[in-house]
């Protein structure tokens, strides 16, 4: 506890470590910000202090928003991330619940299969996936990635949620069943509310993974107007051996805003989710 000490002690023990931690955590964002508002002349000047912006400019933001399809890419990314996250959390829950709570032959094997599916690397899957997408004639549509991302995200969500479901005491569910609830009602009214932090954790991780995914988006989304931010930015802002650093950092900064907003809304639940089971009651 640091609460009861005098100010000097609090500064030394609380605020200084906290400040150091903040600097460490926020530095990448600071670097993105200053790179995005520096003119090229400053970006390439090795003789001036790199941590300060001498002549700030919004040119990179203007160029990003007017010369590329960044807003369209952002819309596409958000749409894909929201849909795939929703689908993955719902289906992941439906997979995790019986594996964690019900006893049936082969449950352990299926549970291991879920983890193994999540571990199959994408480079092994993208050619067969591409074949399926082509047969379905879904190339160059957002549906292509909305269908393929859950193949990564459902096993991930299920694997994460299985741990949360197991941590809820069976007695609570059994009490509800004795009171007349069906298994479905017991799941929806008892287990899921208790696992809200887990559902949020799974959702936020799934959202972030979907937002950042590169390989499937590269293969399936060839036209600029259907691209997501990671592929669109790299295609149009890296040319040969020249990186358009200002615009790239502007895109990275703007692209991280939605996730930051989502985190800020759910941070309490999220932290609770991360620490669930840490202390035995």
């Amino acid at each position: 506890m640091v609460g009861g000490h005098d100010l000097a002690t609090r500064i030394r023990r609380l605020y200084l470590p906290l400040a150091a931690f903040l600097v460490l955590m926020l530095f990448p964002f600071y670097w993105m910000l200053i790179t995005s508002i520096k003119p090229n002349r400053e970006l390439y000047n090795a003789r001036i202090m790199p941590l300060i912006v001498h002549q700030p400019t919004l040119k990179h933001y203007v160029d990003l928003l007017t010369e590329t399809n960044f807003l369209t890419w952002t819309y596409n990314t958000m749409l894909v991330a929201v849909v795939t996250t929703a689908v993955s959390v719902v289906l992941g829950t439906m997979m995790a619940y019986p594996l964690a709570r019900m006893r049936f032959p082969g449950a352990a094997v299926v549970a291991i299969g879920v983890a193994a599916t999540y571990l199959v690397p994408q480079p092994l899957l993208f050619i067969p996936m591409s074949d399926i997408i082509n047969r379905l004639e879904l190339g160059n549509t957002l549906t292509a990635v909305m269908l393929t991302y859950p193949t990564l995200l459902i096993p991930f969500c299920a694997w994460l949620l299985m741990g949360y479901f197991k941590s809820v005491p069976r007695e609570l569910e059994e009490a509800a069943r004795i009171d007349g609830a069906s298994r479905f009602q017991a799941m929806v009214r008892i287990v899921l509310p208790l696992c809200t932090p887990g559902l949020l954790s799974a959702g936020i991780f799934a959202f972030t993974l979907a937002q950042n995914e590169f390989l499937y988006a590269l293969i399936f989304l060839a036209k600029s107007e259907v691209r997501t931010v990671p592929v669109g930015a790299i295609t149009e802002l890296i040319r040969g051996d020249v990186f358009y650093w200002g615009q790239l950092m502007a895109a990275a900064l703007l692209g991280s805003v939605p996730v930051a907003i989502i985190y800020s809304f759910f941070v309490d639940y999220y932290v609770a989710g991360l620490t669930a089971g840490a202390v035995k009651n």
């Binding site: 993208f126 591409s130 074949d131 190339g139 590269l218 293969i219 592929v231 149009e236 040319r239 051996d241």
Partner: protein, 423 residues
């Protein structure tokens, strides 16, 4: 039709298409071309805004242009060829026609016609695109890798013309480093600027990775040892130390940040300097790779178009390539590319695009002495594996780091023997 030439081109294309053995009666409504996004944005824009609409106007066939990010083209091409779906016309680089031979259409007829009309192809381009005597791709240009240097700083140490030999460049580098203007040649795991100077360095001392038969590994030789010794000396006496970790972006940045006086690169440094740093642009020039005891060499970076075997109407795809490689279209497209792509057609040896800036000319001159990575070995899968595993780059980089010449060559020889399945 806008001119007699257009009429003849389109008529020939239509007749060619009609004579080709195929079932489809009607021309396709659309075709797609996939490219790695060009360093020269105007090159991509010219295709989208000028060429594609013009072709649609002439034939009714819509051409979709699909740029992919730098470094991703090989992944995209693999998917297209393996799944037999996607764009009909694909861009290929360096030796890719060898890697995807079975998935690409024979375009010998188109290549011969283009060559005949535009002065003939350069002799050494056949190594890159002719597989088993069949043209599998039609090259539009080479992205040359040359010496890029600061004329003002070289003059400060009494060097008024770019050194012609490796020893002279070493001598100039020593003086420049003492003056605070070191060299910076990439020795890390980038994708082009490392190979761009290290393969020519090996060849210029007489060293080779593998023989013509693709089975006899030749790297363990006194010639290779001389090249390695030179590289170590060149690194220690002329360069910034951190080049060992550089990738392709670092030397551009260091040159434009005025940290280095010379590097090996494509034309991108000069083009960016002219656009964003005009005072550096004024004192930047290009030189051919210096000669070694066994001659002067450069590395090919061939850019070509091929037709994917799954294309439902191959005759239509060929007709499009015939039209694209007609002088009227190709010439204007190359001009839009600001001479970044040096064409392999003798008819363009004196193309007006070379007059825009005399500093572009070395990129044309280097074509004669350019070779593919595995030269004189075959340009197949093994050549790509050696490049992908950075066998040569690591051999030189480890020597610069301090390992003995004998050890680094032995390691490279073992890797190459494994790759080429040689004893």
């Amino acid at each position: 039709m806008t001119s007699r030439r257009d009429f003849v081109t389109v008529t020939l294309a239509a007749v060619g298409g009609a004579l080709a053995p195929r079932w489809a009666g009607a021309a396709p409504k659309a075709m797609s071309v996939v490219h790695e996004s060009s360093f020269i944005k105007a090159f991509d824009d010219f295709f989208v805004q000028k060429l594609a609409p013009e072709y649609e106007k002439l034939t009714g066939i819509k051409i979709n242009y699909e740029p992919v990010s730098v470094g991703s083209m090989l992944t995209r091409l693999t998917t297209i060829v393996e799944t037999k779906a996607g764009p009909e016309i694909v861009a290929t680089g360096v030796n890719w026609p060898y890697l995807f031979d079975a998935g690409l259409v024979d375009v010998t007829d188109v290549a011969n016609e283009v060559g005949k009309k535009l002065g003939g192809w350069h002799d050494n381009i056949y190594d890159a695109v002719v597989v088993n005597r069949k043209w599998k791709a039609i090259p539009w240009g080479n992205i040359g890798q040359l010496e890029v240097y600061r004329t003002d700083w070289f003059k400060e140490v009494g060097v008024n013309k770019f050194p012609d030999t490796r020893e002279d460049l070493l001598a100039a580098g020593r003086l420049l480093k003492k003056k605070g203007h070191p060299f910076g040649f990439e020795l890390g795991h980038g994708f082009g600027d490392n190979h761009g100077w290290l393969y020519p360095l090996l060849w210029s001392y007489g060293g080779r990775e593998v023989d013509k038969d693709g089975k006899t590994v030749l790297i363990d030789s006194s010639e290779t040892a001389k090249a390695v010794d030179f590289c170590r000396k060149f690194y220690q006496e002329t360069m910034l130390e951190d080049v060992l970790g550089w990738t392709d972006v670092n030397n551009n940045r260091a040159f434009l940040a005025e940290q280095i006086s010379c590097t090996n690169n494509a034309m991108s440094i000069l083009i960016v300097a002219k656009r964003d740093f005009p005072e550096i642009g004024k004192v930047t020039d290009h030189g051919l790779n210096p000669q070694g005891p066994k001659g002067r060499f450069h590395l090919f970076n061939v850019q070509s178009h091929a037709i994917a075997a799954h294309a439902p109407d191959q005759a239509a795809a060929k007709a499009f390539l015939r039209w694209l490689y007609d002088d009227k279209q190709l010439s204007a497209w190359l001009v839009a590319g600001d001479a970044y792509y040096a064409p392999f057609l003798h008819g363009y040896d004196n193309h007006p695009m070379w007059n825009a800036d005399p500093r572009y000319l070395p990129y044309k001159d280097c074509l004669r002495t350019s070779r593919l990575h595995a030269w004189p070995g075959p340009a197949g899968h093994q050549a790509s594996e050696s490049v992908a595993k950075y066998v040569l780059v690591d051999m030189f980089a480890k020597a610069c780091r301090g390992d003995s010449t004998k050890d680094v060559i032995a390691t490279a020889a073992a890797q190459l023997k494994q790759i080429y399945k040689a004893k």
